[in-house]
Each structure stands twice: as structure tokens, then as C-alpha cells.
């Protein structure tokens, strides 16, 4: 499993994850009211928190994404990103369980006018995609742990 912790792979995973988060943040930063609408549709948080969350969360995504791309505060950024991914997975899963078909608002905040069945399919796909990204974070953790172990044994 040495290849899994190889720096060649880790740096590419880190940059890819950073780019994904920057790409996800930009549409939300450009149009906060649409993102607020999508957060509201999840029906998980109190009304008073919808707007503050819609304003701040995309910037957290953007800054963490940029930090990963430029290799600054990598551990903190990937931990925050892992926490965000876990929150997204839980939020989408709860709504899937409720049968509440929503636009996930992950990469696009425009109302897509999809049918309920299309939205449900998209939500399942979004969970899979977020799980994939969590695996990317896990790879980064594993590589960092191996690097430390190698460093301390040297």
C-alpha cells in the first residue's frame, strides 16, 4: 500500500480536492440569495441561521480549497473540508429519508426545474460524490501519517 501514501499521489489529490471546493464555492458566492433558498429547502436549520450560513459557508469552502491548492494549512483545511462533507452527506441523507426532493446546491444554485424523480436521483449521486471526496481526504490523512512515521523513524 506504499503507493497510496506516495507524495506524487497525495499532492495531486490535494490539488484536485482544492479545485473541486473552489469550483463549488464560486456559484454560491456569486448568488447568495439562491444558495439561501437551497439551504432553506433542506428544512434542517432554524430560519435565523439560513442567511448567515448562505453567506459564510461558500467562503469557508473557497478559503479551504485555496489553502489546499497552495499547500497552506493543509491539515486544518482538509479537516474542515471533511467536516463539511460529513455535514452535506448527513443533510442530503435526512432529506432523502424524508422523501423531500431538493436541489442539493452543491455546484449549481440555479433552480434547475427538475422533476422529483430527477432530484432524488441527483441527491443519491451527490451522496456518492461526497463519499468519494471523503475518500480523497482519507488518502491525504493516510499519506500525512505515513510521512510522519517515516520522518520519525529516520
Amino acid at each position: 500500500m506504499k503507493w497510496l501514501a506516495h507524495p506524487w499521489l497525495a499532492i495531486r489529490v490535494q490539488i484536485a480536492l482544492g479545485v473541486i471546493f473552489v469550483a463549488a464555492a464560486l456559484p454560491k458566492i456569486v448568488d447568495p440569495p439562491s444558495f439561501a433558498h437551497m439551504i432553506y429547502n433542506y428544512k434542517l436549520i432554524p430560519w435565523a441561521l439560513v442567511n448567515p450560513m448562505a453567506l459564510v459557508m461558500p467562503w469557508i469552502e473557497l478559503l479551504c480549497g485555496l489553502a489546499l491548492i497552495f499547500g497552506i494549512w493543509k491539515e486544518t483545511s482538509r479537516t474542515i473540508i471533511a467536516a463539511l462533507l460529513a455535514i452535506f452527506i448527513i443533510a442530503i441523507s435526512i432529506n432523502l429519508g424524508r422523501g423531500n426532493a431538493i436541489d442539493c446546491g452543491c455546484f449549481d444554485v440555479s433552480a434547475a426545474g427538475k422533476t422529483t424523480a430527477e432530484r432524488i436521483a441527483d441527491m443519491r449521486w451527490a451522496i456518492l460524490r461526497d463519499l468519494g471526496m471523503l475518500l480523497m481526504v482519507a488518502q491525504l490523512w493516510y499519506a500525512a501519517m505515513q510521512e510522519r512515521a517515516t520522518g520519525s523513524s529516520a
Binding site: 459564510v56 486544518t76 474542515i80
Partner: protein, 223 residues
């Protein structure tokens, strides 16, 4: 949370706090410079509470929640009329006096025929969709009134100032959004009902239905 065992927790919290503080700062600055349609009220206003113009005592909490009102049987709150095909000679439709004020309910859901009827009578229409969508096409005469944009309270206050007379507050208002599971029109209705507007109708099937019926559409920023 699974953090690497050897991670320095103090450093982690310091960096995380810095990142979050920077995000908050960026968000506030970006929002301050955002255009009117893209600006968001930093503190979310409870739609059910109403806009609270200075001269108005907001109503107590609405008897029905902000969430979608399920369609009741054809008698109670939903005005159901026969299809428009029966229109020409045997007019089975009830007179418009049925659009009476209903202070006990925030809104009544109506459908296309009633909406068309009210539109021809010059009733005020409010478009609860985003302004950018409104500009692409809206019901002629409808005013842009997105509940998600920061100036919604300003618009509500202006409307209240125009219709401060109790008689005017009993005039019908039709609100619509995108139909389907769109709740924006219901939210706006709740907000207006909260400041004493007593005769609000929600066009349940919204703008897509209006389009489907081939009725006139106006584009641009003006009603």
C-alpha cells in the same frame, strides 16, 4: 472528528478560527458590495413575522404554517372553478365577490382561470421569484418581490405605504412564483398577511401555468 494523532490541536484550532474569521469577513465585505438582487440580509427575517413597518402592529403568528398548504376539498380555502371551455354562453363561474377579504387566513390558493380573471380586473400581482428570473418574463403588471433578496422589506413597506388605508388592505393581491414545490409565493403571502393585508391569493401553479395557457408575458425590469 478523525484528525491525525500527532496533529497539534492548538495550532489546528488557531488556524481553523483564522480561516472561519477570514470567511466571515470576506462574506460581509462581498455582501456589502453586492448588487441589490444578489445581496442577502445578514440576519434572516422571519417571513411569518411580517415586515413590521413602523406604523403597523404585526399580527400574531399565522394559524397556518409557512409550509405548503395541502389542497383541501373544493369548498373551503381553494377556489376551484370549472374549466375555461365552458366560458362563452353558460358562465358557470361565480362572480368576483367570492374574492372577499379573509383575515383569518394568510392566503387562498387559486388556479389559472381565477388568476386570469383577476388579472383582467387589474388586481395587483406580485412575482415572488428572483429578480433575474422576473426580468426574463413575468405576468404583465406584476411587480418583482423576491423574498430572498435583501430589499424585500423595503418593497413590503412601500406597498404598505401605498395601501395604508384599511379599505385598500382588503383589495385582492395575487402572488405567484414557479409553481410546483415553489414556496416563495406562500412565504411572501404570509409576510403580507402579517402586516394586515387581508385578501391575498397564491397562484398555485405559478408562472409555468401562465405560460402554458399562452397568456401574455412581459419581459424586462419593469412591470
Amino acid at each position: 472528528m478523525a484528525v491525525s494523532p500527532s496533529m497539534n490541536w492548538r495550532r489546528f484550532f488557531l488556524e481553523a478560527a483564522t480561516l472561519i474569521a477570514a470567511a466571515i469577513l470576506c462574506a460581509l465585505v462581498a455582501n456589502a458590495f453586492a448588487s441589490r438582487e444578489r445581496k442577502l440580509a445578514v440576519v434572516s427575517h422571519g417571513v411569518a413575522a411580517g415586515a413590521s413597518p413602523a406604523a403597523v402592529q404585526p399580527r400574531a403568528a399565522a394559524p397556518t404554517p409557512v409550509t405548503r398548504v395541502p389542497l383541501p376539498p373544493p369548498t373551503a380555502t381553494t377556489v376551484n372553478r370549472p374549466p375555461a371551455t365552458k366560458k362563452p354562453t353558460t358562465d358557470n363561474r361565480q362572480p368576483t365577490t367570492q374574492f372577499n377579504p379573509h383575515p383569518d387566513k394568510p392566503y387562498i390558493e387559486i388556479h389559472g382561470d381565477d388568476v386570469h380573471d383577476l388579472h383582467t380586473k387589474g388586481v395587483l400581482f406580485l412575482d415572488a421569484r428572483r429578480t433575474s428570473v422576473y426580468e426574463q418574463g413575468h405576468i404583465p403588471g406584476a411587480r418583482p418581490f423576491s423574498v430572498w433578496e435583501s430589499d424585500v422589506d423595503e418593497k413590503v413597506n412601500k406597498l404598505y405605504a401605498e395601501r395604508s388605508d384599511p379599505k385598500d388592505q382588503n383589495l385582492p393581491i395575487v402572488i405567484y412564483c414557479s409553481g410546483g414545490d415553489c414556496e416563495d409565493s406562500h412565504m411572501l403571502a404570509q409576510k403580507l398577511w402579517g402586516i394586515q393585508f387581508n385578501n391575498i391569493y397564491v397562484y398555485k401553479d405559478g408562472f409555468p401555468d401562465w405560460q402554458k395557457r399562452g397568456l401574455p408575458i412581459h419581459t424586462g425590469a419593469n412591470p
